[in-house]
Symmetry: C2
Subunit: 315 residues, 2 copies
């Protein structure tokens, strides 16, 4: 018996065997963006490859996917980063069939949204272990989030709970990628910070960020390098990101009363503990009643996805 | 068998018989502010008075109280408006004993915080009936709130869930009564609006509000009158209050994904449907994804407290 966790991202697909909450035998491949058939066969190939290389009897496969997942049906839709078009993909059914074709019969396959899956990883085996009430914030290209309330993952009335990136920071503020204005993500998301940095550079502000990014995107490492080099623009934009996150987290804690906040995501991981502590201090400054709240770094890092996907079988 | 609901406020105590979710035989008395003994005997007197006048066999008494209530122990503490000092009052035990002394034996007495009780009233018998996920906002002297999530009242990790009045509106904003800065209550609470109106009047701004209030506080009726008279200051302050409420409600809905928002409280009730609709529109304007949300007026008005207190026996 072996459980495989699959972290399906817009750039890469990572799979690993997960055993007692830790991941081993990682395998990784670039995500094909040419439709559902190629995507399904790539995922099943990745899984069967791990099974063959390590002589495993695969019984369970959990998948975290970047879109709207119906956990009961195992379908995936609204996943723009995967270029799948408008038709929902029967993700779990088709992977189960693909595995059966490859000789792995009767595999139990489950799927959920990638943000919920990463939260489940941190909650069951990471920084949130043992907590019944927590908020997770994924600080990366965008700002994702999720909630555990009274010992259960909060899905919400229409399944959209946890969208802290689209709570309000400034009522008359910057346009957000979602079309709204003044949302936290429009100030703290990596993509929004890049847009603002390029705008400032075009307006004549001197910054290392443009040269460091070269022809590519301003990845988390680019921000870390610019900070290390004392770049004023990078520091100013990150300071404002911390302020926006502090406002959003403080308001969330005041409203829902959780006792732990976990910060992960590309920027959260890359910038490290000192920046998590800044977010912690910003949060305390805006918190009702100064009751205090723990804001800590995610513990599983890049493994949160595969471990959380495997944990879909623990509930 | 009869159930009495008691709405214990800082100004008045109201009690009523509650039968199938509606209130009758109301009795009301000024709240004594001279300590726990007088308070307990006044409440028991109010209850036994209704019993005698209407020949009722009292079996259940529910109480909503303005402070921190431990529903399991039936104790009340941190109720500054009742002048009870620092020692917790054994509210349910003492009322039960007082009723027994008056010949009403074996009465089951329960208590909870007044905000939770009013929310329970609207949820079980008012505007929120049949909804498993809702947010209530009480727009009065301050801004209170409460949450029903997945069919249960959210208490929270330390019992403080629902404090939407102390979520952030402006990061660098006005000082709030709680000591924080920029909270929604500092812009939308009646007390905060009065402070701002008096500040503007002292600075030379012409407004009817000062004369209308006379020597007293600017009650909800004063704001309604000034609005009706076309007062520019009243309109500007209420417009900003609506904006603050819209920001807070939109962020809350985006984070927790409820399908209904109920607005009650003194100002919510007094200003009426047109202002609830303004809050609705402000919320939609700030909402993620424009998925839409219903924002409606409370249905029970002043009876939410007694009906909700009686509903403590329905869970």
């Amino acid at each position: 018996m072996a459980t495989i966790g699959v972290d399906l991202g817009g750039t890469n697909i990572t799979a690993a065997r997960v055993h007692h909450g830790s991941a081993e035998h990682h395998a990784k491949v670039a995500t094909p963006l040419t439709g559902a058939d190629e995507l399904i066969s790539t995922i099943t190939g990745l899984i069967t490859g791990i099974a063959e290389d390590h002589d495993l009897d695969i019984t369970h496969v959990g998948i975290g996917a970047p879109g709207i997942v119906d956990p009961a049906l195992g379908t995936l839709r609204s996943a723009p980063n995967l270029h799948l078009g408008d038709t929902p993909v029967e993700l779990t059914t088709r992977i189960r069939a693909g595995l059966a074709d490859a000789g792995h019969d009767h595999v139990d396959v489950r799927a959920d949204n990638d943000v919920n899956v990463a939260l489940r990883g941190e909650w069951t085996h990471g920084a949130g272990k043992g907590h019944d009430n927590l908020l997770a914030v994924w600080w990366g290209t965008g700002i994702g989030g999720g909630l555990v309330l009274d010992g259960a993952l909060r899905s919400g009335s229409i399944g959209s709970a946890g969208e802290i990136g689209h709570t309000m920071y400034r009522a008359d503020g910057r346009r957000c990628g979602c079309g709204g204005h003044g949302h936290v993500e429009a100030y703290a998301g990596r993509a929004a910070m890049e847009t603002e940095a390029r705008r400032r550079a075009a307006a004549g502000e001197a910054t290392e960020l443009i040269a460091a990014a070269g022809d590519g995107r301003m990845k988390s490492s680019v921000w870390a390098e610019a900070l290390a080099a004392g770049d004023v623009t990078a520091a100013a934009l990150l300071d404002q990101a911390v302020d926006a996150l502090g406002v959003a987290i403080a308001s969330a804690v005041t409203l829902i009363d959780v006792d732990l906040v976990i910060v992960g995501g590309g920027l959260g991981s890359r910038l490290g503990e000192a920046w998590i502590e800044r977010i912690h201090r910003a949060t305390i400054g805006y918190l009702f009643g100064h009751a205090g709240i723990d804001v800590i770094a995610s513990a599983l890092g890049d493994d949160a996805g595969v471990i959380g996907a495997a944990a879909l079988f623990e509930s």
